[in-house]
Symmetry: C2
Subunit: 324 residues, 2 copies
């Protein structure tokens, strides 16, 4: 496992309380690394991390672990770098070239290099999965692969950024200004110190790129998405929307047939399934046979994101593990 | 394929317009049957059915097809008989004993005999799938099997009956009485001439039994579900709920830890994800890791239900077909 932040710690705590037949043989973060072929002591690692100590040996880097570690599957949960996707992209390429499966929660490599990484995985006979990169706990990738066989997806609409949705919800519920709602989001840990990616719609656009490229096997880039954020929304605009029994939500939408791929605040009837509150995420797929299907769930959170990563690991374990 | 009503015709029309690599070698309904090892002429069969003619040879019964037909997989889409599950249960048992996979949209056999049929399928090395029995187009069974690996489901709450939901929606939107809304539902083809099963909560209870027995591998029976319908709901009750920014929905819920298994009208905040309008279905699963996940989609319809049946067929084809 590369990366030991919120997601990595979530995975470790789940594995400590549930026996899922998985062994973590190495962990590395940006400060240190640890390799134990018979299984890392997760309780000890979590305790050191939470105490502010290094988790392993400062002489062992993430690249050492990726290159020399004994493992069947790389769990790549290091922080997203959306400019270069590095160093995560290199870790993933390296693991694939060693014939290792990869599960990632890292939006950088998947948004920037999905086609290349998929091709590499295919040619090395390994699996690459990334359920956790979009919509947190919602198993949207599994639904796309498994649940909609026989269907063609015509379009997708989603509330893909929990921070923006929280701010819009609070503005509507309490008549707050954008700045007041953002301040509240920061206090509650829902918004980061620099909320630019979230409130400017960039995070939602990244997820839209990942979903679109997955569904339609396109090679869409972040620059191809038309993006408007929520930071110009006024309390007046929200009050006016409420007069029509509607509200404003930051909607990511892709409709290939009409050449539409954008993230923009939209007026939506309050009783529409995409109108979810707080930090929830929601996604609607419009299909040719099953009609419109909407999925709602937590878009972030340590254990929720860990759930998506673990779902991917178990999927690979069941179907592709040696001897399975 | 046994049964050629709404679902069967939906399947036939999808197979006519999409090449999914499937061949229907026999069709039978209560009036006649037809066997063509190289593939039934679906256009002709649909035309005869829609013209009110028999689809095949009146000398060929469904049981003839099940027992003597050449097929890999039985598609059982005949009408539900919730008292005895017959004759569908016998067709399914017979097909399984012949070593054939089974996909069914028929709630009778699955609600009454799931454990027995599963065991039979297991011992004959075949698959039994029934996505279409609950929540129409929502791929809830696939989500349970594939999307929530590593999770334990703690409870489920659902709006599982589209007719009741339509009536409650119209009562709230237009201030109609129950009888007025029911009359409208009948006119629109949303309610049957005898709406008892829908409005008394029995249809929802049947689906709750199927979902519960699938998730928790229990042996729950319809009699174990506490059921209250919507036919006693007054416009006053709905008006009162609206004063609290809530509404009334017929909720099916199962919480095994608390011994709860019931279908009953409940007051729910209007912004709750389960508050869907019209004939939509919705289901919330509460899990230990992924938190609460809600799925919304069309609960009925010819093509939507066909989508669920076809998804099951393709699932089996990809993984278990001879030579796959």
């Amino acid at each position: 496992m590369i990366g030991f932040g919120t997601v990595g710690q979530g995975i470790a705590s789940v594995l400590m309380r549930k026996d899922l037949g998985l062994t973590i043989t190495a962990i590395a973060d940006s400060r240190s690394g640890l390799m134990r072929d018979d299984g890392v002591d997760l309780a000890g690692v979590l305790e050191r991390k939470r105490g502010g100590f290094v988790v392993g040996d400062v002489g062992i880097s993430p690249m050492d672990v990726v290159k020399r570690g004994e493992y069947d599957l790389l769990v790549e949960v290091s922080p997203t770098n959306i400019q270069t996707a590095e160093p995560a992209a290199t870790f993933i390429r390296e693991a694939i070239s060693r014939g290792k499966h990869v599960v990632s929660s890292n939006k950088g490599p998947i948004a920037l290099h999905l086609k290349e990484l998929r091709r590499a995985a295919l040619s090395h006979g390994v699996q690459l999965r990334y359920e956790a990169t979009v919509c947190g706990a919602i198993p949207i990738m599994h639904v796309l692969e498994e649940g909609l066989r026989g269907n063609s997806v015509k379009s997708l609409h989603g509330v893909l950024n929990g921070t923006s949705n929280f701010i819009l919800t609070r503005m509507a519920e309490e008549g707050l200004t954008y700045d007041q709602a953002l301040a509240e989001a920061r206090e509650m840990g829902v918004a980061e110190a620099d909320p630019t990616y979230d409130v400017k719609g960039i995070d939602a656009a990244i997820k839209l790129v990942i979903l679109s490229n997955t569904i339609w096997e396109t090679d869409l880039r972040l620059e191809d998405v038309v993006v408007t954020g929520i930071d110009q929304i006024t309390p007046d605009a929200i009050r006016l929307s409420e007069d029509e029994d509607a509200t404003i939500r930051l909607i990511a939408e892709a409709i290939p047939e009409r050449g539409i791929c954008r993230v923009t605040p939209r007026l939506i009837p309050r009783n529409h399934p995409l109108v979810v509150n707080g930090t929830l995420n929601a996604i609607t797929l419009t299909t040719d046979l099953a009609g419109a299907l909407t999925f709602v769930g937590k878009g972030a959170g340590s254990i929720e994101t860990a759930s998506a990563v673990i779902g991917d690991i178990l999927h690979i374990k069941e179907r592709y593990a040696r001897g399975a």
